[in-house]
């Protein structure tokens, strides 16, 4: 089972076991990780599950789709490594993935 680490805006780390096929957002909800609101439940409709992907994983995680990119374009505090965590599906080669949550999702 791939391990995923969530780092909140204060630097606190929480590591959980993910399941292949579930998204990084769903995994956060399942484990009560703070900092991810996911208002729309993963429909790529609200941009409240924004995370920063650790530099070591940006290539593996890949680029956002056009729809996701548009949602991100107008989110707050977007960086080069921003993604919507509802659009990242967990796979074996993402074992060890680290994502940081922004200070606010709204």
């Amino acid at each position: 089972m791939p391990k995923i680490t969530y780092i909140d805006s204060s630097g606190k780390e929480r590591q959980v076991e993910g399941k292949n096929g579930m998204t990084v957002m769903e995994t956060a909800i399942k484990h009560n990780i703070p900092g991810i609101d996911a208002d729309c439940g993963g429909a790529c409709a609200c941009a409240t599950c924004h995370v920063y992907v650790d530099e070591a994983f940006t290539a593996k995680v890949g680029k956002p789709s056009a729809m996701e990119q548009s949602m991100l374009d107008f989110a707050e505090n977007v960086k080069e490594n921003s993604r919507l965590s509802c659009q990242i599906k967990i796979r074996d080669d993402l074992d060890g993935l680290k994502v940081t949550t922004p200070e606010s999702q709204h």
Partner: protein
């Protein structure tokens, strides 16, 4: 008002009720929280019920807003499969269908809404279904198989989404809509025309202006009879003709109600210690300068947050422009704002390309946008609505000007 809250009860364990509980704990409230739901499941997302869940792509547990353990870990007393029967305002308790009464010093009513029934002969036959709860959709799933014939009554979001899934599963689908256009309650005519065409292209028989007379069948529905005598044979019927707010508890308690439980900007009902949130609340719509009742995820989340913040005297949440979405086939419809009252519609892009948007203007200002596979139009549109921005129609319609630029010009 009584002092600081010690015991908060929430009637209704849907998206609004759940959010109120989560926000209370997130804000550090340490008193008792009782969350009362009449369904067996903990609070869950309803939107996927007519989409991925109906299609069989998600198991029920993936819809839960919080894992089951959350409620024990955060000391939220979650009561399921038990209904509130009466609110006693003077005695500050809730009488339950079974078990002891529940005491409260602050109460949130988040009882939601229930599907409207069709007042026609045969409406109680087996196989005539509605789609609001997990249990509703589990029943529909039994019939949602290749080759089965489904009649969808009502072409709103839920009816159309279920019809799209049905067509994708290989069902023979007929949509009956009483109005001259689909989605007429929630979107403008351009969007309706586009979705009618899309469903027809998928092989679905879309009947507009259809007049339903009744249902036929012995025990189980076998056909839908239209005025004029035509009978459409079917194996299952899905009725999606809107919802009615669950007002009975509030009315019985003497709280002020109209087409919803009337609340102020703080989510308070006519009793200062009783709040209402979600589909059942008739609330100020600050971006539109009027009151109204919304049925959406955004409204449920915001209402839950407002009630929690008000009860604790904390900072009020930012109020968002109402937003909605609908997934049908390969199309994502994203809506911001409310189009009612629009005096102009600007189309941006080409419906033939399956990516376009309709902006709704009132007195030159953007009041809503419907964006089909067009996230920039949706995201910038949401900001334009919030800012009550005046935008030149010619610019909005001009795809050579990016939405980023339109947004920036409107802001300056």
């Amino acid at each position: 008002m009584s002092g600081a809250p010690q015991r908060i009860a929430i009637i209704g364990a849907g998206q609004a009720g759940g959010q109120a509980a989560y926000s209370l704990r997130q804000a550090g409230f340490e008193g008792a929280i009782t969350l009362i739901g009449d369904e067996p499941a903990p609070p869950y997302q309803r939107p996927p019920l007519s989409k991925a869940y109906l299609k069989g792509e998600l198991e029920a547990e993936r819809l839960f807003l919080k894992p089951l353990e959350y409620y024990a870990e955060h000391n939220v007393d979650l009561i399921t499969s038990n209904a509130a029967k009466k609110i006693d305002l003077a005695g500050r308790q809730i009488e339950m269908a079974s078990g002891p009464a529940i005491a409260w010093d602050r109460l949130v009513i988040a009882t939601g809404a229930r599907p409207r029934k069709l007042p026609v002969p045969g409406a109680d036959l087996d196989g005539i279904l509605e789609l609001r709860t997990l249990s509703d959709v589990d029943k529909l799933k039994w019939s949602a198989v290749k080759g089965a014939r489904m009649v969808v009554v009502g072409a709103g979001y839920i009816g159309l989404e279920a019809a799209a899934v049905g067509a994708q599963l290989g069902m023979h689908v007929t949509i009956l809509e009483a109005m001259p256009q689909v989605l007429s309650r929630v979107a403008g005519p351009e969007i309706g025309v586009f979705y009618t065409r899309t469903h027809r292209e998928a092989g679905t028989d879309v009947r507009l202006g259809a007049k339903l007379e009744g249902f036929e069948g012995q025990g189980h529905v076998s056909g839908v009879r239209l005025v004029g005598g035509e009978v459409i044979p079917c194996d299952v019927v899905l009725v999606g003709v809107g919802v009615l707010p669950n007002l009975e508890l509030a009315l019985d308690a003497g709280l002020t109600c109209g087409n919803g439980i009337v609340v102020n900007a703080q989510g308070q009902t006519s009793h200062p210690d009783v709040y209402a949130a979600g589909d059942v609340a008739w609330r100020p719509l600050v971006h539109f300068g009027r009151d109204g009742r919304l049925e959406s995820v955004h409204n449920a989340i915001e209402g839950g947050k407002i009630a929690a913040a008000s009860m604790l005297g904390g900072p009020a949440p930012a109020l968002e422009v109402p937003w909605f979405w609908s997934d049908q086939f390969d199309l994502k419809l994203q809506t911001a704002g409310l189009w009612t009252g629009a005096d102009a519609q600007i189309i941006r892009g080409d419906a033939q390309s399956r990516a376009f948007a309709v902006f709704y203007l009132k007195e030159g200002r953007v009041i809503a946008v419907d964006a089909v596979n067009s996230a920039p139009e949706y995201v910038v549109g949401r900001r334009l609505v919030a800012a009550k921005a005046a935008v030149a129609p010619a610019e909005l319609a001009d795809k050579s000007i990016s939405m980023k630029d339109i947004g920036a010009r409107a802001a300056s």
